[in-house]
């Protein structure tokens, strides 16, 4: 079947099998490998993208379900020369190490900040509870989000994660 979606502001069409996931559509057909294939069952959040502004696990949607909808991936936020403020602050604060979780973390953070520009630390933790990081830990990620939302980020406490 042909699936047409608006991805990162551009209309794109691909011909895929019915059982293709949104994640596979993005990565394998549309050359957008930013969203990652991690657990493939909706636990790790590495494949998080926005569909009509709402964060979802791209591994848990079929490509057919996003027909005519608006999808934003990490590639839609910024590029090397013009980083999105969230990308820039993650870099400044050394918020990621291997980087595998970072696209999902940043997309989840964007979904949070779009709705709630000044979240509390608790709200950030709640908003990121569907995104797993296995190397850096969460402290620096939370600090980055506090920082970019114009809040002091000195006391993120990893113990209460």
């Amino acid at each position: 079947m042909d699936v047409t979606i608006k991805v990162n502001g551009r209309e794109r069409t691909a011909s895929v099998a019915a059982e293709t996931t949104l994640l596979s559509l993005l990565r394998d057909s549309l050359d957008l490998p930013g969203a990652k294939l991690g657990c493939d069952v909706g636990d790790c959040g590495a494949c998080t993208v926005l569909v009509d502004g709402m964060s979802v696990n791209a591994c848990l949607m079929l490509a057919a379900q996003v027909q005519d909808r608006d999808v934003t991936t990490i590639e839609g936020l910024g590029d090397y020369d013009h980083l999105h403020p969230l990308q820039a602050v993650f870099e400044q604060e050394s918020s990621f190490q291997c980087g595998f979780c970072a696209p999902g973390m940043i997309i989840s953070a964007k979904a949070l900040l779009d709705e709630n520009p000044k979240p509390t630390e608790y709200e950030i933790r709640e908003a990121l509870s569907g995104n797993l990081c296995r190397c850096t830990g969460y402290t620096k990620i939370i600090e980055a989000i506090m920082d970019v939302s114009g809040q002091s980020a000195s006391h993120a406490d990893s113990k209460s994660a």
């Binding site: 079947m1 099998a17 019915a18 059982e19 293709t20 996931t21 596979s24 294939l37 991690g38 657990c39 493939d40 069952v41 909706g42 636990d43 790790c44 959040g45 998080t48 709402m54 964060s55 979802v56 696990n57 591994c59 848990l60 949607m61 079929l62 057919a64 379900q65 989840s108 979904a111 709640e126 908003a127 509870s129 569907g130 995104n131």
Partner: protein, 306 residues
Amino acid sequence: MPRFGMFPAAFGLFDRGSTLKPFEYLAPDTVDEAVAILTDNAPDARLLAGGTDYLVELKHASEVPKVVVDVSGISEFKGIELTDKGLRFGSGVTHTEIMESDLVAEHALAMQEAALTIGAVQTRNLGTLGGNLVTCVPSVDSGPVLIALDAAVTITGSKGIRIMPLLDFFVGPRKTALEPDELLVDIVIPKEMLGRGCSFRKFGLRKGQALALVNTCASIDLDAGKLADVRIALGAVAPTVIRAVKAEKLLNGKAPSDDLFAEAGDMAATEAKPINDFRASAGYRLDLIRTGTKRVLAEALERAPR
């Protein structure tokens, strides 16, 4: 498909990109179309709503159905509204929509407490109330509150519409009263249950992405200072959600007190049949029932209109 924590990720190392097997995808716009598709293809058609459980199940299934029927675009399954019967949830309402609904906050706050414990933001944005109920795992998080508030479900199929208490809809683990050609249309909390004192508590190993070890919910009325029509629902401690009817009976007609609530918690534990598994022992689950029941009763009392 039960969510075995991070195990699928470990398997994934050896089974990279083992995704979905071929099926036909249909996305009807109306309930009637969906019923027709199910009738024509039963039992080789299955419904897809939010997909947070079912797509996971399909990825791990050795056989997939011929037809997957996506019901997420059916408008009759949308919306939360107050009707002359009570508070109606379309089966396709997402957990996020429940959490953000002013109507739910006003009339059935415990539904929001339960929704918040489900999965994480991404899964709550996709996952639906109907899907949660139809999947019908013993730990179903939406079940206890709806049963403590005496909810009824509307089912439609080729033979017409039927309405039944949610308690009867849950038949066993992963087994509901739905026939292969039937769909869950809506869930209604009856008018007389709205606004009563009700509290929900889930015990999991952590807050995010956790299955319940024990779910507890209580709803109460007060009649001249005495407890009336108490309903206690327990989840993850028996094949389906159960009501602790002996504990309810113990409470009805008595003046509330901490001692009485503790006694009810002990009684509720005698009514459950929890299992030992890798998440918790049966003994620990019994302790959680005692503690949880006591706490939700106390909180339901605080919230009860006087």
